[in-house]
Amino acid sequence: MTALSASSPPAAQPVPTLRERLRRLRRSYLFKVVIQGLITILAVMTLTFFMIRQMPGNPFQVRIEDLMTRQGLTYEEAYRAAASIFNFDPDRPALLQFGDYIGDLLQGDLGMSITKTGTPVAELILRYLPWTLFSIGLSVLISFTLGTTLGLSIGYWRGSWFDNVVTTLASIISGIPDYIIALLIILIFGVQLEWFKIGQVRGGVDPTITPALSLEYIGSILQYAFMPMLIYTLSSIGTWILAMKSSTISTLGEDYIAVAQARGLPQRRILSAYVGRNAMLPLITRLAINVGFIVGGSVIIEEMFQYPGLGRNLYLAITGRDYTVMQGIFLVITVAVVASNILADLVIVWLDPRVRLDKGEEA
C-alpha cells in the first residue's frame, strides 16, 4: 500500500495509471463476462476434444482397413497413406494433439476435415452456418414475436373465448416434440392429403437454380426453408405463449398497472409501455437459453428434411467420426450460446433501468 501511494501521489497524476485502468477494465461487466465466456468455451473444447477421441470406430483405422482391402496395400503403406491424407499423426499423444489444436485455433485454423479430404473445417462451417442461422434465427424471431404478442393479448383479456382457444392450442403444441410435429405434418398434409410434394422438401435450395440475388433464388430458399421453419416455430411458439401469458398475468397484478388505468391512459399505452414491456423482461433470458437449445435440437429436423445446416452436418460428422468437423461445430454452437447469453444481458440492461452492468458501483 505504501509503495503504491509513494509511486502515484493523487494530486500529481490526473491521468489514471495503467494499473488504475486495468483495474477499471477488470471491474467492467463486459470484460468479466467475455473472460468467463472464453473460459467456458475453452472448457467445452477440452471436454469435447477428449470425449470425441474416445468414441469407438476411429476413422483412421477405418481408412487404413479400407485402403488395405481395396488397394491391397500393406499395413505400413496404408498407415502412411492414411496419415498423409488425414494430415495428423495418430501416434502423437492426445495431450500434444490438443495443444496443437488449441494453437491452430488461436490462429483461426480449425483444421482439416477428416472425411471430406482436403477441405478446411472453417470452410465447411461457413458453408453450413448461413442455412442454420437463417432458418433458426428467423423462426425464433417469428415464434418469439408472435408468441409474446399472443400471450400478452390472452393474458390481458384472460377468460375470454379467445384466451381459452389459444391456451388450449398452445398447451397441446408445446407438449409435442418437434420431430413428431414434423412427422405428423408430413404424414397428414404431405402423404395423406397431398397438399405439398414431399420430394421437394429436401435440401436447402433448388439445385437447378444458379445462386444469385434473384427473386427466383430467394424464393427457392424460402420455399425449401419453409418446412423446417414452420416446425421450429410451431414447436416453440406454445411455450412462448404460455410463458408470456403467465408473465402478463403477474404483471397485471402490479400496482403501477392500476395507477396507469386510474391515470386514464389509453389502453394501447398501458398494453405496450406498462404490461408488455415489464412482462417481456423475464422472457429475454429464456430466449437466450432457447437459442442454444434449438441449435442443438435442430439435428433431427435438419436430418429429416436433409437441410444443409449445422445440425445435420453435426450428425453426419458424428456418425462418420469426423473429429475435426465435430469439434468445429461444437465450438460454433458453444460460442453461439455464450454470445446469446451476453446479448440477453445487454438487452435487459437496455430495457430495464434497474439493472446495471457494473453491479459493484451502484448500491
Binding site: D255, A262, R354
Partner: protein, 339 residues
C-alpha cells in the same frame, strides 16, 4: 377551515358493491352514502376488510372483473356546474374523467410507479392522454415538484428506483395534481413510510390543499392521521359507513359503539400510562353477515334489539353528522366522559 358547504362535488348514494368469491358472494360495500364538498377532506377509516378499498375502487370504477356495483349512484359535479352519474359513463368517458377530475394516490409508493419509465415519461404520457401539451405539462410538473419539496429537475429525469420511498410518494402526490382535479383519493398514502417521511407528506399535503383547494378522500386505518388532516370522518365497518360527521364530533362525541371502541384501542403518545381496551372477536364474514347490527357480536353496548334489527342512520345537529347505532345515547355519554 372554510368549507363551501353549498357546493357538493361528489355525492354517493346507496352504493353497494359485491364480488364473487369461491364460497359465495361477498357484499364488500353495502348502502354507502356520503357527500364530498369542495375543498373538504373526508377520511374513511376502518380496519382491513371493512370495504374501504373496494369503495375506493368503485369510486373510480376500477373494480376487478369479479366485482360488480349492485345499486346506487355516484353523482359528480363539474366545475361548470354540470352534474353526471359516474355509473352512466362508458369506457372512453370514464378514461377522460379519471385523473383530470378525480385522481388517486395509492399505498405502495414503490410499486405505484412503472419501474422502466422515467418520471418525465409519466408526466408526459399523463398529459398526452388528457390533451395537454408537453410544454404546459413540463411547467406544471416542475412547479408541483417544487411545491412538494423535491429537487424538481433531478427528480424529473429519475427512474423510480433512484428515489427513496418518501420521494416517490411525493412524486405521486405531485402527479395526482398535474391535471388540477377537483378530487384526490388517497389510499393509505402514509402507511408504508417512516414517521418522519409521513410527517413531511402530511405537511406537504396540508400546504398543497391550502394553495390549490381540492377535495380529498383519505382512506386509512390510522386514526391519528385522520384526526390530523380530516374535516369529516367516516367510520366503516363490515362494508357500511356506521358513523360520519365533523372530525371533532366523531373523535370527541362518538355516537357509534364501533367508533368509540376503535378510539379506546388507539394508544396516545401524550397520554402517559393509559388503559386501552381492544375489540374482542374479529370482523364478520361478509358472505353471511350477522343479522341486525353487524357489529353486535363484538359490541360492549349490545342490547337485544341490536341482534335482530339493523339500526337506522340517524342525523344529529341538523344534519352535520349521522350514526347508525341503537345505543347512541350511552355511547355518547361515555365518549363525553372520556374527554
Amino acid at each position: 377551515m372554510s368549507l363551501d358547504m353549498n357546493k357538493v362535488v361528489l355525492s354517493v348514494r346507496d352504493l353497494s358493491v359485491s364480488y364473487q368469491a369461491r364460497r359465495g358472494r361477498v357484499r364488500a360495500v353495502s348502502r354507502v352514502s356520503f357527500d364530498l364538498h369542495a375543498g373538504e377532506t373526508l377520511a374513511l377509516i376502518g380496519e382491513s376488510g371493512c370495504g374501504k378499498s373496494t369503495l375506493n375502487l368503485a369510486l373510480i370504477r376500477q373494480l376487478p372483473k369479479n366485482a360488480s356495483i349492485d345499486s346506487g349512484s355516484i353523482a359528480y359535479t363539474y366545475r361548470d356546474g354540470r352534474t353526471i352519474n359516474l355509473l352512466d359513463f362508458d369506457k372512453t368517458a370514464m378514461r377522460r374523467y379519471l385523473w383530470s377530475e378525480c385522481s388517486m394516490v395509492f399505498q405502495g409508493a414503490l410499486n405505484s410507479l412503472n419501474p422502466v419509465l422515467r418520471v418525465s415519461d409519466l408526466v408526459y404520457e399523463t398529459a398526452a392522454a388528457h390533451g395537454i401539451g408537453r410544454l404546459e405539462a413540463l411547467t406544471r410538473a416542475l412547479t408541483l415538484f417544487e411545491q412538494v419539496r423535491l429537487d424538481a429537475k433531478r427528480v424529473f429525469n429519475s427512474y423510480p428506483h433512484e428515489m427513496s420511498g418518501g420521494m416517490r410518494q411525493r412524486v405521486l402526490l405531485a402527479l395526482s395534481l398535474l391535471l388540477r382535479p377537483q378530487i384526490v383519493i388517497m389510499d393509505e398514502p402514509t402507511t408504508a413510510v417512516d414517521i418522519l417521511t409521513q410527517r413531511s407528506i402530511l405537511d406537504v399535503l396540508k400546504q398543497l390543499r391550502a394553495e390549490l383547494n381540492f377535495s380529498v378522500i383519505f382512506i386509512s386505518h390510522d386514526l391519528a392521521v385522520a384526526a390530523e388532516i380530516a374535516d369529516t370522518v367516516a367510520t366503516m365497518y363490515a362494508g357500511e359507513i356506521v358513523e360520519i360527521g365533523p372530525v371533532n364530533d366523531v373523535f370527541y362525541r362518538s355516537r357509534h359503539a364501533y367508533t368509540l371502541s376503535l378510539l379506546n384501542a388507539a394508544p396516545r403518545l401524550s397520554a402517559g400510562a393509559e388503559t386501552l381496551e381492544s375489540i374482542p372477536g374479529s370482523p364478520p364474514d361478509l358472505i353471511e353477515p350477522p343479522p341486525g347490527c353487524k357489529f353486535h357480536e363484538r359490541c360492549a353496548y349490545v342490547q337485544p334489539i341490536c341482534r335482530t334489527t339493523p339500526p337506522p342512520m340517524v342525523a344529529y345537529d341538523s344534519g352535520a353528522g349521522r350514526a347508525a347505532c341503537h345505543e347512541t345515547a350511552r355511547v355518547l355519554a361515555d365518549a363525553r366522559q372520556k374527554v
